[in-house]
């Protein structure tokens, strides 16, 4: 890793565990390369902390390629930092200036309790998916894919919804900590395809009920989620979810 010329002041949220009281702690970092990713900058910080015999900062990360949805820092008041359409691991230090002070906090939502420092428990999302974010398929030979013609626009919209990596930036940035962008993307990716139809109206009811049970807030259409989503998930998905929900509750004869 090349040495650099950036000097930074970090204000990082440190919290021992979910029950402990946390606080922002100041760290000075010198010689940071502008080519480093934000997480590599944190690796440097952690090496220094370990060398000094202090506890390293705990943060979530996995692929560091912007596709897994694990990294999750709230940087200077925005999820995944100042750049649009990137995750924290794809954010580079060249997006900051020498001498900057950078405030780093965990996602804040009742449904995402802090585990330690910058790591939060996002298993609420897993439970929403488990409530209906799947299709039921009987085993047997796969049929020819061409037997199910799907219009190109429909396939593209489903693919765009499926791009959601479940990082939780939408919840983090929403003033209401609402999960509607995430849930609507997971509903839409199936609602737009023929394979998702049999369970379409059951799915939307179950997943919305689970979302509510997890304690996420209610959407007020500020659009912050769409603006901050690293995968550019559209608000159109929320409208589609609302339409499907209305159809399920007021038209469908099937009850969940």
């Amino acid at each position: 890793m090349s040495t650099g010329n950036m000097n930074l002041t970090l204000k990082v949220w440190r919290q021992k565990n979910n029950n402990a009281k946390g606080a922002l702690v100041d760290y000075k970092l010198a010689d940071i390369s502008p080519d480093m990713s934000f997480l590599e900058m944190f690796d440097v910080l952690n090496e220094q902390l370990i060398n000094k015999g202090e506890e390293p900062v705990v943060f979530d990360h996995d692929c560091r390629e912007g596709i897994c949805g694990m990294c999750s820092m709230f940087i200077n008041g925005r999820p995944h930092g100042p750049k649009d359409l990137v995750t924290t691991c794809q954010l580079h230090m060249r997006s900051f200036k020498d001498g900057d002070t950078i405030v780093v906090e965990p996602w804040r939502a009742a449904a995402f309790p802090v585990v330690k420092d910058l790591t939060v428990d996002r298993s609420a999302f897993d439970r929403v998916i488990a409530a209906g974010g799947f299709i039921s398929v009987n085993t047997g030979n796969a049929q020819d894919a061409n037997n199910l013609p799907i219009p190109k626009m429909q396939a593209d919209a489903a693919f765009e919804a499926a791009a959601c990596i479940g990082c939780g930036a939408c919840v983090a940035t929403c003033k209401n900590a609402s999960a509607m962008l995430f849930v609507s993307a997971k509903i839409s990716q199936l609602a737009l395809l023929p394979q998702g139809q049999p369970e379409r109206y059951r799915r939307v009811q179950s997943m919305v009920a689970q979302m509510d049970a997890e304690g996420f807030g209610n959407c007020t259409n500020t659009g912050a989620c769409e603006a901050e989503c690293p995968k550019g998930i559209s608000l159109e998905n929320i409208a589609r979810m609302n339409r499907d929900f209305a159809s399920a509750k007021f038209i469908s004869e099937e009850t969940v």
């Binding site: 100042p82 009811q205 007020t220 500020t222 912050a224 929320i238 589609r240 609302n242 929900f245 209305a246």
Partner: protein, 226 residues
């Protein structure tokens, strides 16, 4: 769970109530603004008083008034409930939160704008609604109708009241700027062919309604209409 189940108690159902009552109030404002704009005919309020007389005596309008109050109260109470729930959804606030980077200030301030409107509404109902429905309009015009226009002229001699009304119309404008398009999105009416029309209509509606309403106390105070 049977029948409609939690259709209106779920997060989306609660949004539906906000959206439906919001659109209903938007329709009401068109009627309210249209009839009040009759003062601009500048005929000493004769035409306006005909409109006011119709609104006060027609039984369909009076029944509609009850629905209006129910809708308004539903909008207010649902907003209060949602706000409290939303605050509970984020018990620990951010030290730094750059909201302006991703959303409009008025879309994040609907509760504040709505509260200002509610305070204004108390003043406004006391000024005109209580007078026309309960305490009585003291004079009649040349046609023998209750002279609500005279009440309006008297009330808007007070510059403080005029300023309060104008400030309230700023709150109304920003509340509508978010609320109009937001109601359509909530009810699922998001469509690439119509989104531009909805957004445009929302902006025009908000600005025109607010300017027309604000022009009324200004015109009366400065004697621009007779």
């Amino acid at each position: 769970m049977s029948g409609f189940g939690n259709a209106f108690s779920s997060s989306i159902g609660k949004k539906f109530i906000m959206g439906i009552t919001g659109l209903f109030l938007i329709l009401f404002l068109i009627v309210h603004c249209g009839i009040n704009a009759l003062i601009f005919i500048s005929d000493g309020g004769l035409t306006f008083n005909v409109g006011a007389h119709f609104m006060a005596t027609n039984w369909i309008i009076r029944a509609g008034e009850i629905v209006l109050f129910i809708g308004l109260l539903a909008h207010i109470f649902q907003a209060l409930r949602l706000t409290l729930e939303n605050q509970k959804a984020r018990p620990v606030k951010y030290a730094v939160n750059d909201g302006k980077a991703n959303s409009k200030w008025y879309s994040r301030s609907m509760g504040l704008l709505g509260t200002l409107l509610l305070i204004f509404l108390v003043v406004h109902l006391k000024d005109f609604w209580v007078v026309s429905r309960f305490t009585g309009i003291p004079t009649v015009d040349a046609n023998g109708h209750e002279d609500l226009y005279a009440v309006m002229k008297e009330k808007f001699q007070d510059p403080v009241r005029v300023v309060v009304y104008i400030l309230a119309m700023f709150s109304l404008c920003y509340h509508l700027l978010h609320g109009f398009a937001s109601a359509f999105q909530t009810l699922g009416w998001n469509h690439s062919k119509y989104n531009g029309i909805i957004k445009g209509a929302g902006v025009w509606y908000s600005v025109i309604i607010s300017i027309l309403f604000a022009a009324m106390p200004i015109a009366v105070y400065f004697g621009l209409i007779q």
